[in-house]
Symmetry: C2
Subunit: 243 residues, 2 copies
Amino acid sequence: MSLDGYQRSRYLLIIEKIKKDIESGILEPGEKLPSENKLAKDLGVSRTTLREALRILEEEGIVIRKHGIGTFINRKPIFSSGIEELISITDMIKEEGKTPGTRLLYSGYVDPIEEDKSELRLDDQESVFLVKRIRTADNEPMVYCIDKIPEHLIPKDSVFENESLFDFMDDKAAVTISYATAFIETIGYHEEISKVLQCEKESPLLVLKQTHYDLHENPVLYSINFFRADKFRFSVFRKRVKF
Amino acid sequence: MSLDGYQRSRYLLIIEKIKKDIESGILEPGEKLPSENKLAKDLGVSRTTLREALRILEEEGIVIRKHGIGTFINRKPIFSSGIEELISITDMIKEEGKTPGTRLLYSGYVDPIEEDKSELRLDDQESVFLVKRIRTADNEPMVYCIDKIPEHLIPKDSVFENESLFDFMDDKAAVTISYATAFIETIGYHEEISKVLQCEKESPLLVLKQTHYDLHENPVLYSINFFRADKFRFSVFRKRVKF
DNA sequence: CCTTGATTGTTGTTGGACAACACTGTAAAA
DNA sequence: TTTTACAGTGTTGTCCAACAACAATCAAGG
């Protein structure tokens, strides 16, 4: 295995490699992995590094380790992507095998509400860059997105086109989103949103309220997403910690 | 620090210890931890073991590690308990500082539907033990619970009282639940359920469909929980993995 | 038949060493 | 004076080799 290019840590590369091997079928659910000593040699890393990777894979529910027995690929249906993994809505739709699209409803600077101020730790009088969009899959409305970015992160003259917001921030704001804290809620019928999403009156919406942070733990994006409940559901791997 | 009693692995004890120190305020958000060498000595474990603990804490978003700089307690609002952590509804309600209660609607053996068969990997003709309950917080209806357990796991003569289902299975079925795969969905008004939960007609419900597994990766419990959306929301820590 | 113990193979833990990285202060160069 | 270059220090990342703890198997003994 080639591990040249030291960009990321080795243990991260190992994690990717093993995940890829599972997806591609080289490693099958329920299968027992080689012992750590052997696997470490095969992968060309030390046992220590391999163990760090396996620990995380265990935490994520991908593998199961049993003291004195071995390490196994979990038999559970591995979700295409659980909600714990932060990906853009664009990628979510792509993973479903559909073509993502965007309809821009609004973009520009507005005054923040209290919620924005606290989530984004705004100075007084700082405004936010607001983007309202409809995200579509195969041209069908799927998600209503409200995104807010602190004013100071964005060059005044920049224009938001129909790109991924993650990419936009990476390019224009030189900010890399690293993680997010999210709340999952639900609402029933919403006058405006349900209409533009073409929902039935009885159909509720899944709401994702997220505060995104960059590599320095600074909040850089606060977003509220409304998902059509008949098209979307979220999956989670839940692990018991105290017995 | 006392680490006597080898029941759990040392790295798990370290994780607990650090989490406890954060909750109790000994470690404060944003604070820099001592270096791994010092911390390992303080805790009385090897640096390797400490690092395994820190890796998982990082994966969970509790700490943030920076190569060449140090390890820090994350400043994010640490959720009382994110949805990634599998706990019983009893404990969820307790964590809110309220008193959990249960109203048993039904318990007994029934024929499984297709959904149950596939989720619980049932043999043909095996029936399931069904429990229907209302869970209350301070006597207020909160969650409508449907739980199904494969027949062969439960001694025929056992009776389900108002205990925690996790405990019930531990005692009567000698089964320890280890993790679960969950889907988060939502539904609008439901004729029966909304009524017993005393929901308004416009108020939707958050639905958690979960398959629970024991330590040997066998599915042992399939449950569908309906949460009042005006009382509950789920939190998740989402981490970006590929940049 | 069943129990006990030795053997084997696994993951868990240890200690010590060096590598890679980030920051700081100092000295050299412009 | 200002800027650049570099050494020094402290951190996390990686490596190695060994032993401990645990689980399963098998053989010998009751």
